[in-house]
Symmetry: C2
Subunit: 213 residues, 2 copies
């Protein structure tokens, strides 16, 4: 039975399910049971069935799940068929890595433009995307539908830039700065990639293991 409100944990697991289904599809596998998917993800079959049931009924008793149709369903659920749009703010090291190395279209996103305050970067094309002057950010957002602003600026500029793109009307922020962004109650969606937090969690577990020895 479809759920109205799906928990954060469930949402976090959905991209992982999709990755596994992509792998299965690549390997030419046609059907998969929750038990087999559980084996591959390290989760219990129960949890997988429970998770999927938040969004609808995708399986068949005695058969399991059809790989390609579940895959299609997950892509739909994750909004990958929505032709979302994004701009990148901050064309520094991380920004350029995203422009050149991250396949936005494979995730259903069109990266419309990049912006930077450094004059020497503006006008260039990086990974097929034009870098514009940061002064044009608000105007660009107002003139184009921009769903996501990718924040790859310095810590010092993070909140100011966030305020600007929120005011101009973006619907979400993908945050690569090490700052916690205050959304000012705007209702904008945020997702963060914190390298440092990830390494420090790892460091904790490493230290814990050492202490146990």
């Amino acid at each position: 039975m479809k759920k109205d409100q799906v928990s954060k944990n469930v949402v976090w697991r959905m991209p992982r399910y999709l990755r596994k289904l992509d792998e299965l599809a690549d390997a030419g596998v046609e059907r998969v049971s929750s038990t087999e998917l559980g084996r591959r993800t390290g989760l219990t079959p129960s949890q997988i069935r429970q998770d999927l049931s938040c969004f609808g009924e995708f399986g068949q008793q005695g058969y399991g799940y059809n790989v390609s149709s579940l895959r299609a369903a997950l892509r739909r659920i994750l909004g990958m068929e929505q032709n979302h749009t994004a701009i990148l703010v901050g064309a520094g090291r991380i920004g350029q890595t995203l422009l050149e190395g991250f396949d936005f279209s494979r995730r259903g996103f069109a990266l419309l433009s990049a912006f930077d305050i450094r004059p020497e970067l503006t006008g260039a094309s990086v990974g097929g995307v034009t870098v514009r002057d940061a002064a044009e950010i608000s105007g660009f957002i107002r003139e184009n539908r921009v769903d996501v602003a990718i924040l790859a600026v310095t810590r010092a500029a993070a909140q100011r830039v966030a305020d600007e793109v929120i005011a101009a009307g973006v619907r979400a922020i993908w945050n690569f700065t090490e700052m916690d962004i205050d959304l000012r109650g705007s209702g904008v969606v945020i997702g963060s990639v914190h390298f440092s937090d990830s390494l420090l969690s790892l460091s904790y577990h490493l230290h814990e293991r050492e202490a146990a020895e």
Copy 2:
């Protein structure tokens, strides 16, 4: 009362607490209460006190927490004073971004060396770190104490390289590939940074919001 086993959620919040304390210390603030820290992190004061109590007693009734001593305690808890060591495997775009842009020493890590299979990259120095031939990985790990192997190779190479560094004796893997690494029951610690999973979660919430309108 110190806990033996600390939950994943608690561990994930610790780096955030530390970031806030760094900010407070930079701003010259001397003391902070769980209420104030809660306001700044969006968590309940109860949760913060509960989280910290997993590791010991750091506050004082009627006063709160001393910023610099709690900060020092968190750094210790997170293993930042352990002089951990790391190597980078895969000196491509993400790898180079880490070498040039990520301050490992600020997180208590020494980055000893980088490795790549591409001959044109070996011998170079990127961000002050020498890139060696991938054939030398196992030897290097055996001759030096290497706590963490940073995996920044292609999806296709990910599991093979992981197997190699595990066999050679690293204690942890920091995974930047979009693959789930099978640790083969080795007891190695793993932490992952999945750009794609993060964007897809964001995409879900964006789509959900659109559907609600």
